[in-house]
Symmetry: C2
Subunit: 330 residues, 2 copies
């Protein structure tokens, strides 16, 4: 019998289609393996092409070469210049598209990826996220900041060179407000943060855990929206990603790299997106929300049912995926 499982953060149901469920192995990607060189002459993110990206915002370097560069997105969705204005005209509600849209170039190597990078370098990437996250929130026009990564063509990127993006929007997305509202309601009912409770109960049950490190629990959500959907929750209660400390950054680098390497080895480098869902640093003291990192491998395609209902059909069993990933050697 299929199961509908409730995601308590989004309040949306997921259909776990047990009878259509595939084995974790069946999601192995059948991509042509392309040989990728370390440098590509026309890649805008490769060393030597620094002039192809707009003025650098920050750089991390060692010895003679840069390791990480942050630049404005050349094809920014929002303008850095301008005033945030609200214009209402009948049913048309508009906010001027001011905001920030930056690219974090994660390595000077064209052919690496978080899964294959040394852990220290991943920690540097996460430190850069924190740096830019806090800085962008200083802009008084910015209401919300989203950190995300698109890896591989099916994730929506055409650029192979490893990079993440960070966007500051002049509005709070409804999705974000809704999640905060739900976790607040959970706190009202129980006196506990929903994510803290999730860490506690996932730990006790154990069946969906992939990795348990000192500061983070990495697991398949009970109501995973798709195969290999993974959450990394900090164990310490923190509403805002901006509060992550150095020891936690090192540990998150370990957890993120390890789970992505398990994907890489286990199902052959799947395309994926990941996002950091966080409150603003202004809400840093909130007891209600708790930031986390969510990874969605693009191994199945959402279709009309998902569009029309907001519900997902997951053709895998979260418990089986977790067991499979625990066994993948890294």
């Amino acid at each position: 019998m299929p199961e509908l499982r409730l995601n308590l953060i989004t309040r949306e149901w997921v259909i776990i289609a047990t009878e259509r469920a595939k084995r974790p192995d069946d999601f192995r990607q059948k991509k042509d393996k392309k040989y990728l060189p370390e440098r590509v002459s026309d890649c805008p993110f490769c060393p030597g092409n620094e002039g192809k990206t707009p003025g650098e915002i920050m750089q991390l370097s060692s010895d003679d070469e840069w390791k990480i560069r942050v630049t404005p997105n050349k094809f920014a969705a929002l303008n850095i210049e301008g005033e945030r204005q609200r214009i209402n005209e009948g049913l048309k509600h508009l906010v001027t598209g001011v905001g920030r849209h930056e690219v974090i170039i994660e390595s000077n190597l064209h052919n690496t990826t978080i899964a294959l990078m040394p852990q220290n370098d991943v920690a540097d990437v996460i430190s850069s996220y924190k740096n830019r996250f806090l800085d962008i929130y200083n802009d008084p026009r910015i209401e919300h900041v989203i950190i995300f990564k698109n890896h591989g063509e099916r994730s929506g990127t055409t650029i192979v060179h490893p990079h993440s993006q960070i966007v500051g929007t002049p509005v709070i997305p409804l999705q974000v407000r809704d999640r905060v509202e739900e976790t607040t309601r959970y706190f009202d009912n129980t006196g506990e943060c929903l994510m803290c409770a999730t860490v506690r109960t996932e730990f006790a049950e154990g069946r969906r855990i992939i990795l348990d490190s000192k500061h983070f629990l990495t697991f398949i959500p009970y109501a995973a929206l798709s195969p290999f959907h993974t959450w990394i929750f900090p164990k310490r209660h923190m509403a805002s990603f901006g509060d992550i400390n150095d020891e936690e950054i090192t540990d998150l680098a370990y957890s993120l790299k390890t789970v992505l390497l398990k994907f890489y080895n286990g199902i052959e480098n799947p395309d994926y997106n990941y996002v950091i869902r966080s409150e603003s640093p202004k809400e840093s003291g909130s007891e209600y929300f708790h930031w986390y990192l969510s990874i969605v491998p693009r191994v199945i395609q959402a279709a009309g049912f998902e569009l029309g209902s907001g519900m997902y059909i997951n053709t895998s069993l979260p418990e089986e995926i977790a067991e499979f990933l625990r066994r993948v050697k890294v």
Copy 2:
């Protein structure tokens, strides 16, 4: 300057990325045109293979051959048999996966599509939707019914033969509840149905209209979530699709076929999903909701930003797309 536009039904912002915006022409699909025969021997939906689909639920035929067949989905996401049960255990909330999942085979021709079908045949497809929609709601375990179509590989289907699907779920999706809540709130504030108001103001402004038929207005939403996102709204206030009458079915067939043919001719048969968003027939008298059909061509790929924020980046101008489509000959 980019614009953030608010979708009043979902309350989500869309970034209209004016500075990255492409011309409507730029979304022309560059697919290899495959020659498709009228019949394919191993297609489960082609005549001669009726035994490959589970027991037929309904059939429409003329002369010696069937024109439309409705069957249970062989790979149903939900089980038709069983009791709807709610099981709560700590943070795990589960409903047994009972429900309906049917396939509407729209033609006995493998190589046709709504855009190319005679209008009368499209009307028959819509009549079948209505028939199944009303019948599935008779099942007391069913809380919500979604009618949708996946056309082309990027829409999430691997089956070429023209078909739609209809799913009855044992829960009301949160997305649906949220939309009803928003339109109810709009009614509270104004005394008018939001969709009736939208038809009125879109008609007055005219810039986003693609097609104006007797009973339907076909237009690009002000806050279209992606290029060529299209809404077809009935002009008569109807909360439930189940109330559509025969004259309206004929007119919807005309509008749907025409706009899909404009896509077909204008940007070379793009992949798309469409869904009918409707209240249950039990809410048929509701003043607050108003059913509509939403078409989302798969011409761009949602990425980490959309996943992480729920907001969309649309790299086209709704007004330009509408103008382009008005001019496409059919």
